[in-house]
């Protein structure tokens, strides 16, 4: 397997995917949910009711006019609106309750209220958490790979792979946001962090093999050592990904509707993470090595 020879193709492929994702992000594909904007959301079940159109109509002319109404299927609807107080909530519930003639037909499955204050903090904290986690991983890898010369390049390589996966997941989610109205909420951030953890995990396994091979095969070109390491870990990378993918697909098919966007992020991240550990993290090292040799 001469993967290093094709690294330019890998980089180009990833760049194209990321660029497409970026286009969707700039089109406003990442729709912030109430966790990041403040507001309230209501998930209701209205049995004997199957269209969100009527709900939208019922809210016309009221202060809830600008609410987002989504059909979750199974007579379940999601309504997102501004941060309402108790009286406004009561009014909204009354409007919804009057949609069906039967009494007690309306069932409130969940209600969320996030004040703008909390939302602002969430945004800031989510950013710092991701940033701090990245720095922490960077430093740990630097330390863990101290037995090979120039260990900082391993840190840089895994962080770039991580950034790659981050951008891919954001891009895919932006596409889903435009096409399926997916929202970015706290669950998304968690899925995102999971991907982050998995991406690093995956990169480390490949880099670990590279670490021991660099010591064992000193004198051989790095690109060959990289190819050898990838071949050696290829079975593991594939098998781990397949087992995880199998679990996630089971979760996606049989888990609840509320979990679906979350699982989807994990699936995309898993595929991207496996790919980046082989095609990005290690190839960055080769690229770095070759550049250095040229300049010397």
């Amino acid at each position: 397997m001469n993967l290093s020879g094709n690294k330019i193709w890998f980089f180009s492929f990833s760049s194209v995917i990321i660029l497409i994702g970026m286009v969707f992000i700039f089109m406003g594909g990442l729709k912030p949910g109430i966790d990041f904007t403040g507001g309230s959301s209501l998930t209701i079940k209205l049995s004997s009711y199957d269209s969100s159109e009527n709900i939208r109509e019922a809210l016309m002319g009221t202060e809830f006019e600008s609410s987002v109404v989504q059909n979750f299927g199974d007579s379940t609807f999601f309504i997102r609106t501004f941060d309402i107080n108790d009286q406004e909530k009561e009014k909204l519930v009354n409007i919804l309750d009057s949609l069906t003639p039967e009494k007690d037909d309306l069932q409130i499955l969940s209600f969320d209220l996030i004040s703008p204050l909390i939302a602002r903090e969430t945004v800031v904290n989510a950013f710092w958490a991701v940033f701090a986690a990245t720095i922490g991983i960077f430093i740990y890898i630097w330390w863990a790979f101290r037995s090979v010369p120039n260990p900082v390049r391993f840190s840089v390589a895994s962080i770039i792979a991580l950034l790659h996966d981050t951008l891919i997941v954001l891009g895919v989610f932006a596409i889903l946001g435009i096409s399926l109205d997916f929202e970015v909420n706290t669950m998304f951030i968690i899925a995102f962090l999971t991907v982050l953890g998995y991406s690093v995990n995956d990169s480390i396994v490949v880099l670990d093999r590279l670490r021991s091979n660099i010591i064992d095969y000193s004198g051989i070109r790095l690109s060959d050592v990289v190819n050898l390491s990838i071949s050696q870990t290829f079975g593991r990378s594939l098998n781990t990904s397949i087992t995880l993918l199998v679990t996630l697909i089971a979760m996606y098919l049989f888990g609840g509707d509320t979990l679906k966007p979350f699982i989807l992020v994990l699936i995309v991240g898993l595929i991207s993470g496996t790919y980046s550990s082989i095609a990005i993290a290690t190839q960055i090292l080769v690229y770095w090595d070759e550049r250095k040799k040229k300049t010397v």
């Binding site: 309230s40 998930t43 108790d86 909530k89 069932q107 409130i108 499955l109 969940s110 209600f111 969320d112 209220l113 004040s115 204050l117 909390i118 969430t122 904290n125 958490a129 701090a132 986690a133 922490g136 991983i137 740990y140 890898i141 863990a144 706290t186 669950m187 968690i190 899925a191 962090l193 999971t194 982050l196 953890g197 998995y198 690093v200 995990n201 995956d202 480390i204 396994v205 670990d208 021991s212 071949s231 050696q232 870990t233 290829f234 079975g235 593991r236 098998n239 781990t240 087992t243 995880l244 199998v246 679990t247 996630l248 089971a250 979760m251 049989f254 888990g255 609840g256 979990l259 994990l266």
Partner: protein, 588 residues
């Protein structure tokens, strides 16, 4: 085998203890309770069992309305108040946590009526004890009586008579009969009125007085104007509600109704009163007047339901603090033996207005009423208590999940996780053969240990926690796969199985360690941020993943290694092909 007996024994002990912990629904060690009524005795988060998640922020302000931070003592007192209030309401046990310095996280698992909980916790509840004066009489300002210019007798005008007014006349204690105001064309049965003209000053005073009388009709205990008319031999005194006084337009004239049972007709009145009629305004009878005396919820120490010692009827016990005791003693001394009452208001809504039999100087009292029921007494006690929130608070975050939705998410997650796990086992056995079986056994034991640790550490399982658990299963599988791949390589170089197990394991370990440690670093940072923010979802994720990752390392280090070593010394080891994965033999 003798060489590994220590790790074998350790594995057996850990797995046995885990199994006992997992399959015992509830147990207690050294007074600590573990387990719950949920599946496998796990603690379920609000998103899985339904409930409310409320975050409150202190809304403490100084006199200029500038926000000031509450002291930690105040916040602790706040926690206790809310805890007691929710506990005694029967809404279930709340879980209240301080977040940072000025925030409270209130979790109410299993609650079905979040709005009731919110109103109980109360956002701005303010309790006030007021002195309620009843049947006081205020003298009428002399300038009114001196300002009377002209008095004459005629039929009482009927401009505003509505259903409402006649309702009030029958309700009221005022001395007027029911036939008074309705549209009656027959002059004989129409009520009579005294028409009085006033001077400028007196007129405006009467107008103010009239407005006050009208306003008092909005609350119980109507004010009345006491009037005396005289003339001839007659001298009649009566009381009038605001409705029975009418201003006659443009003439600075008011008409005061004469109660209809006084005279049978206008002629009767004229003959009895004569031509010279005098009117005197005696006094304003105050039905009820509440005066703020500075006794508030802050002065109340406790309020709790109880039983009267003699009658066994439900009562409310109240206790005041030092300052409250002084104010309460003053108030009760003043009120005792009068018909005055203590009016207790919560957020300007009257809760109850008990009378006082004798001065209460000790700061402890009880309230009883013939209408008291057990429920009423306990609700009132709660509301009295709620008036003394040590710190005003406002709601900044709310998350309510219906129990049905929670149960649905839980069962779906279990279902999905079960199928996922089964598929993993099938894949591992098909691909890795004997080691795959071992890995499956190790995986099963891993799940057992994780659940046991969750129970022992009382980790709350949330939806995000389940996600973390799946990820950690993936990592546990990954650790096994790493070991097997190395093992396979070592076998291909012609090593014996037991050598291959040892070397393979040693070579796989750094990768397992480094990948898991970097995940732990992420978890640690996540946990820290979530803790600052009270983001239970993120926190649940971080805790679950940390536990999973640590156990995954232990499980790889101990279980997989032990099982492989055991098998290396058994008959299975004779058939090496069982250890080499299907297919892909050509790869390197």
């Amino acid at each position: 085998m003798r060489r590994y007996w220590k790790s074998v024994m350790l594995s057996v002990v850990i797995i046995s203890i885990s199994a006992i912990v997992v399959f015992t629904q509830k147990f207690s060690i050294g007074g600590n309770e573990f387990g719950s009524d949920a599946v496998l005795g796990l603690q379920l988060g609000l998103d899985l069992q339904g409930g409310s998640h409320l975050v409150y922020q202190s809304d403490l302000k100084d006199q200029d309305g500038i926000s000031i931070p509450p002291s930690s003592t105040q916040m602790q007192a706040l926690i206790k108040t809310i805890e007691r209030r929710v506990n005694s309401s029967g809404l279930g046990e709340p879980n209240i946590q301080l977040i940072g310095e000025d925030r409270l996280l209130v979790q109410l698992p299993g609650i079905t009526d979040p709005d009731r909980a919110k109103s109980l916790i109360g956002e701005t509840a303010r309790l006030e004890f007021k002195h309620r004066y009843t049947d006081a009489s205020d003298p009428i300002d002399d300038s009114i009586n001196n300002g009377i210019q002209n008095v004459k007798l005629d039929f009482y005008p009927n401009p505003y008579s509505t259903e409402d007014d006649s309702d009030k006349s029958t309700d009221s204690s005022a001395t007027s009969s029911d036939s008074s105001t309705s549209n009656n064309n027959v002059p004989d049965s129409s009520p009579l009125g005294i028409f009085v003209n006033f001077g400028d000053d007196a007129y405006s005073r009467v107008k103010t007085l009239h407005d006050q009388l009208i306003t008092s009709l909005e609350s119980p205990g109507y004010d009345r104007l006491q009037v005396e008319i005289s003339g001839g031999e007659e001298n009649v005194r009566f009381e009038l509600l605001g409705t029975f006084i009418t201003e006659v337009d443009n003439e600075k004239q008011f008409s005061f109704m004469i109660p209809s049972d006084t005279y049978s007709s206008l002629d009767d009145a004229k003959s009895k009163l004569g031509d010279e009629i005098n009117i005197e305004f005696i006094s304003l009878l105050v039905g009820q007047r509440d005066e703020i005396i500075g006794l508030t919820g802050e002065d109340l120490e406790r309020a709790y339901p109880g039983q009267h010692q003699q009658t066994n009827k439900p009562i409310i016990n109240i206790e005041f603090n030092d300052q409250g005791t002084r104010k309460f003693a003053e108030l009760t001394t003043e009120i005792a033996a009068t018909s005055d009452k203590i009016a207790i208001f919560l957020d300007d809504t009257e809760l109850i207005s008990p009378g006082v039999n004798k001065p209460i100087l000790g700061g402890a009292a009880f309230i009883d009423s013939p209408n008291f029921t057990l429920d009423r007494v306990s609700d009132l006690s709660l509301m009295l208590e709620s008036g003394r929130l040590p710190v005003p608070i406002k709601l900044i975050q709310e998350r309510d999940v219906d129990a049905v939705l929670g149960a649905d998410s839980l069962s779906k997650s279990y279902y999905a996780a079960g199928i996922g796990l089964l598929l993993v086992v099938v894949f591992m056995v098909l691909y890795y053969r004997i080691p795959g079986i071992f890995a499956s056994i190790a995986l099963f034991c891993y799940c057992l240990i994780v659940i046991a640790v969750f129970k022992l550490l009382s980790v709350t399982l949330t939806l995000s926690g389940i996600a973390a658990a799946i990820l950690s299963i993936g990592m546990a599988v990954d650790a096994n796969i790493l070991i097997f791949e190395r093992l396979k390589e070592e076998l291909r170089t012609g090593k014996t199985l037991s050598m291959a197990v040892n070397i393979g394991f040693n070579k796989a370990w750094p990768a397992i360690r480094d990948s898991n440690v970097s995940t732990l670093i992420t978890c640690l940072i996540l946990f820290w941020f979530a803790d600052q923010l009270g983001a239970t979802i993120v926190k649940g994720f971080a805790v679950t993943l940390s536990v999973g990752v640590i156990i995954s390392m232990i499980s790889a280090l101990l279980l997989t290694q032990t099982i492989l070593r055991l098998s290396a010394n058994s008959f299975i080891s004779k058939v090496l092909t069982l250890y080499v994965p299907a297919g892909r033999k050509d790869l390197l």
